[in-house]
Amino acid sequence: MSEPGPLAGLRVLDFSHVFAGPFCTRSLADMGADVVHVESASRQAGDRYRAAYQHRNKRSIGINLKTGAGQQVAARLAAVADIIVENFSSSVMRRLNLDYASLAPANRRLIYISLSGYGHTGPRSEWLSMNMNLQAYTGLMLMTGFEGDPPTAISNSWNDYIGGLHGIIAIMQALADRVDSGAGRYIDLSQFECSVATVGALLLASAVSGKTPPRLGNRSSDDAPQGVYPCAGDDQWVALTVQTDGQWRALAELLGRSGFLADERLSTAAARMQHHEELDAAIAAWTREQTPAAAASRLQSAGIPAERMRRVADVVDAPDSGAVYRPFTTAGGRSALAATLPFTFGESALSEVETPHEMGADTRDVLRDWLEMNGDEIGALESDRVLV
């Protein structure tokens, strides 16, 4: 960070793994917090790539939590931490003597957040959860797509972002309360509830009517026409939306269908909504003959909001997009991009992205900084294989 972020000076002990927890803690790190990610050899299996979207801007400490001495080191770190973030299933931290009840007596200022799938109470609390399951269960997959489609997903860890963002907000509220009370608290966050909250409007509609609102595909509830239309080439598309009658006139001219303008059936957005399929066919007939870039450019020139479907490569390459991404160097020495915070404080720039640290790279530094351990103590823990 170019200057200390709003959370500078706060210590976060991070026991989290894929992905709601790591996203939450990386964002705290982006805002200046000192995030120490606790890792153990057993969790290191699999992919060796250290993803910046999980590990960047954090320090890594390697502790063997299966040993009593390892658990004691973790508990000592917890005693001087401001925040603990974990997203194991409910029994894991208790078994390690690292649950809130075990740690709070030594640190009444501690804010401890569990980011589990369903929360630690209720009939579903023991259910195993994964992102795709939450996309399914929270209604997202049956409200996305067109009527009659099978369940429709987004190819990212959507619900982890949603849970992680709510987690950040809950932590900051607990920090604000701590300024007044001097006391921390336990936070039992349910990723399921977080994602259901984001569909709260349609849930409320269902609670009132007893019915499920129809899936709109790419249509708007009030503007028309709006849609995503096929272009020349394989899997190429352009999106457009008409929000004013002026844009409608411009579109009709562009399509070479000035007859539409004389058509009473199409004079208002509500009327055009009734004949959306007819308009879709006319628009697709026009877009199909062009590249998406050409179609988007001509639509934009006519004052109609439009954009081609950008793929990941397009976003990376386009000069007018990807402003939120910053370059960083992977542990393998390659140059890659990672998203930073989409907001700025005062005049200060966006946070920078550090190369993710290897597991245990900061073990000695953290034990010195947080616990004022000396070299002999650290050496003894190393030779007892408490540190990994």
């Binding site: 997959m141 099978p150 997903a153 409320l204 990672a338």
Partner: protein, 373 residues
């Protein structure tokens, strides 16, 4: 287990209750709801003709109007309403007076200079300014790259339903606001924050961007069958769909075989290895579909979970309105709604967390007389 819940604070004391001016459109409106869920006094400044949030359907009454929009009723819950035309000099002058009583302004469409003037007058004030939130939702979604990863392979790419992307941008607005309020609390000084809504969209592509730039791995639309691992996806049930996610390890496969009792799959020992399951993916998925389609989804999911196989119902919002987990934890609460009568109301994630109650959405301008006097 109730005792393990975070201890509720019934309501914020007057000293901790902040006054928030909410001048947001759809991309920021969830942030201000979350401030209301935290217990703050949120005053929504709305155009007298009704704004975009009030105009979003579906509508909870017989016909579209400015009071019965589902988005208005959910996202403006717990707020007050002042109807004010900020495009007029008179409206702006009233707004500036109101701002003198506020701790934080979350604003779209206001100029940087206007907000700076308010901060200059009140050193304590936090202003959160939204920019690039006037790009239409579908267009911003296409520009950000998210459209290219939503939908089924080869089919029309599609916007996430229910304007969910705007709840997500609202979350970023709330993160920025919370950070600024924390600094205000610690230092007593106001803050100026700018949130770029187009950049908020882009953040949700970050895994795909890093996988592409860091490891040459593309991300495309994956659909719903075998999308994550070989044996995963949404499968038909007798009453809709259920979601099954077997990992890429080998330990759950024998458990699934024990459950399914499928002689064809069980008779192929090579399938014990993940790579072979990947090769025979379609055959396996077809067998699962045929087996499960006669059974109700909740039975399938309950049995899968009993066997420690991650599974979930593919739910509709009507089903969520009766969900036992949401009811047990108090996310859904029984209320007598002034417009809709007795109903289950979604309190919200943070209101549930802190066990705060939340009020209903205000009628347009209901607070004009009281708040402006």
């Amino acid at each position: 287990m109730k005792s393990a819940r975070s201890k509720a604070i019934a309501s914020l004391s007057e000293a901790k209750r902040l006054r928030v001016l909410d001048v947001t459109g759809p991309a920021g409106v969830y942030a201000a709801r979350l401030l209301a869920e935290q217990g703050h006094e949120v005053i929504r400044i709305e155009h007298p003709a009704g704004d975009a949030v009030r105009r979003l359907g579906p509508f909870l009454g017989p016909s579209p109007n400015l009071e019965d929009g589902a988005y208005h009723q959910f996202f403006n819950a717990g707020k007050r309403s002042v109807a004010l035309d900020l495009t007029s000099d008179e409206g702006l002058a009233i707004f500036a007076r109101l701002a003198q009583s506020a701790d934080v302004i979350v604003a779209s469409g206001l100029q940087h200079a206007d907000l700076a003037r308010l901060r200059a007058r009140d050193q304590h004030l936090v202003t959160v300014r939204l920019v690039n939130d006037d790009i239409p939702e579908l267009i911003a979604y296409a520009r950000s790259g998210l459209l290219s990863i939503t939908g089924h392979p080869g089919k029309t790419p599609v916007l996430m339903g229910g304007h969910i992307i705007y709840a997500a941008t609202g979350l970023w607005v709330m993160v920025a606001t919370s950070a600024a309020l924390l600094v205000q609390k610690a230092t007593g000084r106001g803050q100026s924050v700018t949130v770029d809504i187009q950049q908020c969209f882009e953040t949700f592509l970050d895994m795909a961007v890093e996988n592409y730039t860091g490891r040459n791995r593309p991300t495309e639309r994956r659909g719903y069958r075998g999308a994550v691992t070989a044996v995963s996806g949404a499968f038909p049930s007798s009453d809709g769909f259920w979601m099954l996610s077997l990992g890429d390890g080998n330990d759950r496969w024998p458990v699934l075989m024990d459950w399914m009792q499928d002689p064809v799959l069980a008779g192929d020992p090579a399938l014990a290895e993940y790579d072979e399951r990947q090769r025979q993916r379609d055959r396996i998925l077809d067998r699962i579909s045929a087996w499960a389609k006669a059974l109700p989804k909740i039975d399938l999911v309950t049995e899968a979970q009993r066997r420690h196989i991650p599974a979930a119902p593919v739910a509709t919002t009507s089903e969520l309105a009766d969900d036992p987990q949401l009811i047990e934890r108090g996310f859904l609460v029984n209320v007598d709604h002034p417009r809709y009568g007795r109903m289950r109301f979604p309190r919200g994630a943070l209101a549930t967390l802190w066990d705060h109650s939340i009020g209903f959405a205000p009628t347009l301008g209901e607070g004009n007389a009281e708040i402006l006097s």
